[in-house]
């Protein structure tokens, strides 16, 4: 996005935000509002083909992407399964843990070959379990390479550390490991379990436990004592449990909480710069209507946040630019940009994934929706809204014309297939999305029309192959 457009966009959204005052101002009244229904026939919804992946016999804890086409699902049935987006059979079923597997992380192990002078890189997978072990798996063979036991406590979260071959594991305590399987350091945390670990720039990590955040420094040179150095406790605390912790731009990260607050922290100073969505009466009979399970940063300047059942778009400066109070029937658990950024997908406890996108295409069938004819907007938000801001619009914005309407995402489709809450959604390069639900299944969502074309190609190849065989025979 060029600087001018950026400015214009910000101005435009600010104006919109001003008009709708604040998210909280209207939210209480909006409780009675009906949930919008998906458009009839959903011509915009490209996900017309699904594969149901069933290999787990118990609750799935999470799914983690590994690379461009692979992901791993971990489950209470003591297994982790590596899947590919073009196959409904597992690539590897990783057996070995004696307890529920709760977290996983893909990493690249770098081994320097001193003699030959280059680095060997191997893709590995780490899985943490309640059986007090961490297992290291090869992603080439699916074999268990190493079992880490020294920490002697359960592991709930794994994270890269920002330093090569070092990783952090959190549970009861916080551990620093290297990939050779050495436990380098343990930080005893007096209190709650670690729920999130965020690798922030500059060899630092931020650890969330219950409603507190704490920053540590990761040793980045092998010479010094390899210990996690405590930097500071981040203040002020959230009022309730922290639900999400993510980077939003190069210099800011954000944490969201059950009480609905999203705090934007400066990476440099580790202090709060903005506090969004502060709600006084957040409890409301312990239903936490404003809880922010997940948020999604867009273009380094904006945040899509799942606020209770609704979606809100905030600018990092603190304005609520757009909001949809009743986006779902139940709380939204995850937000993701899918299908090459053309849709914002929201996963909800009501078992649906809703797709939000540009209004101007809402009536057209998907086939007509081709951004190829236009310039592809650089900005994610512009792509989502399906348009870039023209100079004319800029002018109108500067003139602060009241009649001018800000483009906003509209409901374009609803993906229903899970029979329980949809917990998380991954998106892959080939426009496939992968979701898992509390019903214990993983679903691959694919673009039916595109898949059909791919199958045509495949059949042409098969026939070609066969006719060659035929010829060689004769």
């Amino acid at each position: 996005m060029s600087g001018g457009a950026d400015l214009a966009m910000a101005a435009l959204l600010r104006k919109k935000g001003r008009r709708s005052a604040n998210y909280k101002a209207t939210s209480s009244a909006a409780h009675e509002m009906e949930v919008e229904r998906a458009p009839e026939n959903q011509p915009q919804n490209p996900f017309t083909e699904i594969h149901i992946l069933t290999n787990h016999s118990d609750v799935i804890r999470t799914i983690i992407p590994i690379d461009g086409h692979r992901f791993v699902s971990v489950s209470d049935d003591h297994t982790a399964v590596v899947w590919s987006t073009n196959c409904s059979n597992p690539l590897f079923v990783l057996n070995g843990h004696a307890g529920p597997v709760v977290c996983a992380m893909g990493m690249t192990m770098v081994q320097y070959d001193a003699e030959r002078g280059y680095a060997l890189k191997e893709q590995i997978l780490l899985t943490g379990s309640l059986d007090k072990t961490i297992r290291v798996w090869s992603l080439e063979s699916g074999e268990c390479i190493n079992i880490l036991k020294d920490h002697n406590t359960y592991v709930k979260v794994l994270s890269v550390s920002g330093v090569e071959n070092l990783f952090c594991a959190g549970g009861n305590n916080l551990h620093l490991w290297n990939l050779d399987g050495e436990l380098l350091h343990t930080v005893i945390l007096n209190g709650e379990d670690v729920s999130h670990i965020l690798d922030v720039i500059g060899g630092r990590i931020v650890v969330a436990a219950a409603n507190t955040l704490e920053a540590f420094k990761v040793p980045d040179t092998p010479d010094i004592l390899q210990e996690l150095e405590k930097i500071k406790k981040l203040a002020p605390n959230h009022r309730e449990m922290i639900l999400s912790l993510e980077m939003v731009s190069g210099s800011f990260f954000a944490s969201s909480s059950l009480d609905g607050t999203i705090k934007i922290w400066s990476v440099a100073t580790m202090t709060v710069t903005r506090s969004l969505n502060q709600e006084k009466d957040y409890l409301l009979d312990h239903s936490y209507p404003y809880c922010v399970h997940h948020f999604l940063s867009v273009d380094q300047n904006f945040l899509f946040a799942a606020v209770g059942r609704g979606i809100a778009l905030f600018s990092l400066s603190g304005d609520c630019l757009w909001h949809k109070v009743n986006a779902h029937h139940s709380k939204i658990l995850f937000l993701c940009l899918v299908y090459n950024g053309m849709f914002l997908a929201s996963c909800s406890e009501d078992g649906t994934i809703r797709l939000w996108g540009a209004e101007e295409f809402a009536d057209q069938p998907l086939e007509g929706k081709s951004l190829l004819s236009k310039e592809i907007p650089e900005s994610s938000l512009e792509r989502l809204l399906g348009r870039s801001i023209t100079t004319r619009e800029k002018r109108r914005l500067l003139r602060k014309e009241e009649k001018y309407k800000v483009p906003s995402p509209v409901l374009l489709g609803e993906c229903v297939s899970h029979s329980g809450a949809v917990q998380k959604l991954l998106t892959f390069n080939d426009n496939t999305m992968v979701s898992y639900g509390s019903d214990g299944i993983v679903i691959l969502w694919k673009d039916g029309a595109k898949e059909s074309e791919l199958r045509n190609d495949q059949i042409r190849k098969i026939l070609h192959f066969n006719s060659q065989v035929d010829q060689s025979k004769s």
């Binding site: 009839e40 196959c87 029979s419 039916g448 045509n456």
Partner: protein, 847 residues
């Protein structure tokens, strides 16, 4: 297409229906329409017109089995069907057809030596009577008959000359297989009898030379054998039996005895040679006693309990080193075949009169008894043969044409398990991918192309004479998960019918049902199969039907009676392991086929079975005005759920039976679930296409919201239907046409015409769009804009029709891909058909 139109026309005119007979309107027509009687209700007695104005002619085919009786000359024995050729002088005809072969048998008789005669066949034409017959002569052997021969013949009599000549080859092959059964059974029996005769003769000779010793021996053995009456009879036996015996012995001259023994041995020798050369019998022997390497003759002899007084035994040419246990074992196996002696007790030789001429005081055995158990098998086969060939020539021809569509099975499209079209039949795609095709030589095996079918699966026995048979339409074994076989008679295999199926097949004694569905035993390991195959002990086919023909039909009765066959829930899972005859050097080849029976529409139309797909279709169309939407859902691959309260299971069954006519594809045996009692899940949508669902209380409890959204739900109790509306033309047109017809058969013919319309579009779409790489590769051209929808619109398939066509092509594509992946053993790619989500909103329809 043309032929179906012909049938359609025939159906209409023969039933005296005017297509546009608008009298009374639809409703009334429905009420007054008289459905044809089911087959079993048609009165058996149909009075013959007593004053025929023209010369009596036969109008229907029948099979006549005749014998040249040694007492009364040529006579007819069996007519199939029982009332076949009622107005026809069968005995006169028998004289005619037996006379043709009489010379052959006569010359045989003139020879002094005993020879085994091959079958002869001939075609007889009687223009006056307007009768054409294929006559198959064969000779059986009977120890009691004059010259030991019993000449028989079977004749297929028809007024349709064209039919006879068109299907002559098949007819010949079929009759040959029947005669083979007769003769094989007969040879086994005759040999047993000859062995016994020989034993008798030797014993007689023995007792002439050493009268006392034998009588004593005899007495001993009799006491040993019958323990109950030892005390009572033994005392008298010593006095009375020798008296009788001496009298007989005196009557026998030494010379006659020696000559009789020689004759008998000569015949045995001839017979043994014949039987050894027969692959069927040698195969049988191997099964019977795996340890027994010697012939059956020895075992019979040895187990006779006849003492090996070296001379006599050597004179029979058999060895003495015989283990008794194996012998009795093989004898018992022989008895099983011949079905004459069910006890494995050794034969007691007795003293006989050698030169006793036949006195014609007792009638000879019947044809069936002459061949033992195989005789009744042969007659059953004859019945079946009649059922196949007695149908109209048009039907036979259509079946013949469509049987070539079965290969390659991966591109075969079936709707309701009936063959529609094969996308790649008889063609080869040029390697330059320009979607050009050339027709393949018909003689060439198409299976070398595309998803190779190993020839082992087609050839079942390696008998060279049998392999030269034309590929018959009644069992083509094609491997693969999506394989199909076209059967000449309409199959009615209810998938997933876990109860009641057994009864049904039992009831249908006219054997219209034929299951030859073998499932790919994926759960079995390769090794396991191989072992079994090499052992040669597991051969379902030969155990059950003892035949040598190129394809062996396994009827459900046989399967169930066979006992050796693993029958899962009364339906069709048979692991079929076949073995090439050991006479050839080829290693045993196994065929593990997943065979799905598919039928031909022509057979469906002419079948009298009331339990076939599409039964009561007329009533259904009239009762439910929304039938079109429902059928659209089925044709376009949307899972259709028929929900009803548990007590209405039977009604749901019959609706499923009607609707299965519209279920495309034959890949999965879970396509149709007649009665499902659990809540449905999204996973079920992938495989099930037509489901009968028990609905406990509320509909939504049995069907989750997500499933409800992507399926068509028909609540049978309240006659409500939730489904996306059908927007298209073709289906509506056919339905309104069907509503004016008065017979199910006519409706089905009309529907078939519609299916072919769709098939033709699908064919075009597949070849010109899906296989055309030019459309996709030249992105720069405007052609890239041409999407599937645009293309379909061009071939006049829009909205609903386009979806149907696309789904049908998708089925073919999926079949091809999954077969390819199976062959290349790529396990890491999706083989399962994805679940299609059609976001089109459902509408509610009331009846």
């Amino acid at each position: 297409m043309q032929a179906y139109a012909e049938i359609f026309h025939y159906q209409n005119t023969s039933a005296n229906i005017a297509l546009f007979d608008a009298v009374g309107g639809e409703e009334e027509a429905f009420v007054h329409s008289v459905r044809p009687f089911p087959f079993h209700l048609i009165p058996a007695y149909q009075p013959v017109m007593p004053w025929p104005c023209t010369k009596q002619k036969i109008d229907k085919d029948f099979i006549l089995v005749c014998e040249f009786s040694e007492i009364i000359g040529p006579t007819s024995l069996i007519t199939i069907p029982r009332d076949g050729g009622r107005n026809f002088d069968k005995d006169m005809f028998a004289v005619r057809i037996m006379a043709v072969d009489y010379n052959a048998t006569n010359t045989m008789r003139c020879y002094a030596s005993f020879t085994i005669v091959e079958d002869t066949s001939v075609i007889i034409e009687d223009k006056e009577e307007n009768v054409y017959a294929y006559v198959h002569h064969f000779t059986l052997y009977d120890i009691h008959a004059r010259g030991y021969v019993r000449p028989f013949c079977m004749a297929y009599v028809t007024p349709d000359k064209n039919k006879l000549f068109t299907f002559l080859e098949k007819l010949m092959a079929k009759f040959k297989s029947v005669s083979q059964l007769f003769r094989s059974g007969n040879q086994l029996l005759f040999k047993t009898e000859l062995d016994q005769r020989l034993a008798d003769l030797l014993y007689t000779k023995d007792s002439m030379q050493f009268p006392v010793a034998t009588s004593l021996k005899m007495a001993k053995s009799s006491t040993a054998n019958s323990k109950d009456n030892t005390d009572v009879t033994s005392g008298q036996g010593e006095e009375t039996i020798p008296c009788q015996r001496r009298r007989t012995i005196v009557e026998n001259s030494q010379e006659a005895l020696t000559k009789a023994i020689q004759d008998c041995q000569g015949m045995l020798h001839e017979l043994r040679q014949k039987m050894e050369s027969s692959s069927f019998l040698s195969k049988y022997k191997k099964e019977g006693g795996s340890q027994n390497r010697s012939g059956c003759d020895e075992c019979c002899l040895g187990s006779l309990g006849y003492h090996s007084d070296s001379e006599t035994v050597i004179s029979t040419g058999s060895k003495t080193n015989i283990c008794n246990s194996t012998l009795s074992k093989s004898l018992s196996s022989l008895c099983k075949v011949t079905n004459c002696h069910c006890n494995s007790q050794p034969y007691q030789p007795k003293i006989i009169k050698v030169d006793a001429c036949r006195r014609y005081d007792q009638s000879l055995r019947t044809l069936q008894k002459l061949s033992g158990k195989l005789g009744s098998d042969a007659l059953n086969r004859l019945q079946k043969l009649f059922k196949i060939f007695s149908r109209d020539a048009v039907v036979l021809k259509l079946e013949h044409v469509e049987s070539s569509l079965v290969n390659p099975s991966t591109t075969l499209l079936t709707i309701g398990r009936t063959v529609q079209i094969n996308f790649l039949a008889n063609m080869v795609v040029q390697s330059n991918n320009e979607a050009m095709f050339r027709h393949r030589n018909r003689a060439g095996r198409t299976d070398s192309f595309l998803m190779e079918t190993p020839s082992s699966c087609l050839s079942i026995t390696s008998d060279s004479t049998q392999q030269s048979f034309p590929l018959s339409y009644d069992a083509e074994f094609v491997p693969g998960s999506t394989a199909a076989s076209l059967e000449s008679i309409y199959y009615d295999v209810e998938e997933g019918l876990d109860d009641g199926d057994e009864e049904k097949t039992q009831d249908n004694d006219d054997s219209w049902l034929e299951i030859s569905f073998t499932s790919r035993g994926e759960e079995r390991t390769e090794n396991n199969d191989e072992n079994r195959g090499l052992g040669g002990s597991f051969d379902v086919v030969s155990i059950n039907s003892h035949s040598e023909v190129e394809s062996v039909d396994l009827s459900p009765h046989q399967l169930m009676n066979g006992g050796t066959v693993p029958f899962v829930n009364g339906y069709d899972k048979v692991v079929q392991l076949r073995q090439l005859s050991s006479s050839s050097s080829i290693e045993p080849v196994l065929s593990r086929c997943s065979k799905v029976p598919v039928g031909c529409y022509a057979s469906r139309l002419t079948s009298t079975n009331t339990d076939l797909p599409g039964a009561d279709i007329r009533a259904f169309l009239h009762t439910y005005p929304f039938a079109g939407h429902l059928i659209y859902a089925l044709l376009s691959g949307r899972t259709t759920i028929i929900a009803a309260s548990p007590k209405r299971e039977k009604e749901v069954y019959s609706i499923i039976r009607t609707l299965r006519l519209f279920v495309p594809g034959h890949s999965s045996n879970q396509l149709i679930i007649p009665w499902h009692t659990m809540s449905l899940t999204m996973c079920d949508l992938g495989k099930m296409k037509l489901v009968g669902l028990a609905k406990p209380r509320s509909l939504h409890r049995a069907i989750p919201a997500s499933v409800f959204r992507f399926s068509t739900v028909f609540d049978y109790d309240s006659s409500k239907l939730w489904t996306p509306p059908y927007r298209g033309k073709i289906l509506w047109k056919t339905i309104s046409q069907c509503k004016q017809l008065r017979q199910d058969q006519s409706c089905i013919a009309a529907i078939e015409t519609m299916m072919l319309k769709y098939s033709a579009k699908a064919y075009l779409f597949y070849h010109t769009y899906c296989l055309n790489s030019n459309l996709c590769n030249n992105q720069s051209e405007k052609q890239s804009q041409l999407t599937a929808a645009h293309f379909l619109a061009k071939i006049n398939a829009i909205d609903g029709d386009a979806k149907i066509v696309q789904y049908w092509v998708d089925i073919i594509k999926q079949q091809q891909i999954s077969e390819f992946l199976t062959q290349t053993n790529s396990s890491h790619v999706t083989k399962k058909m994805p679940i299609k989500l059609n976001y089109e909103g459902s509408k509610l329809y009331h009846a």
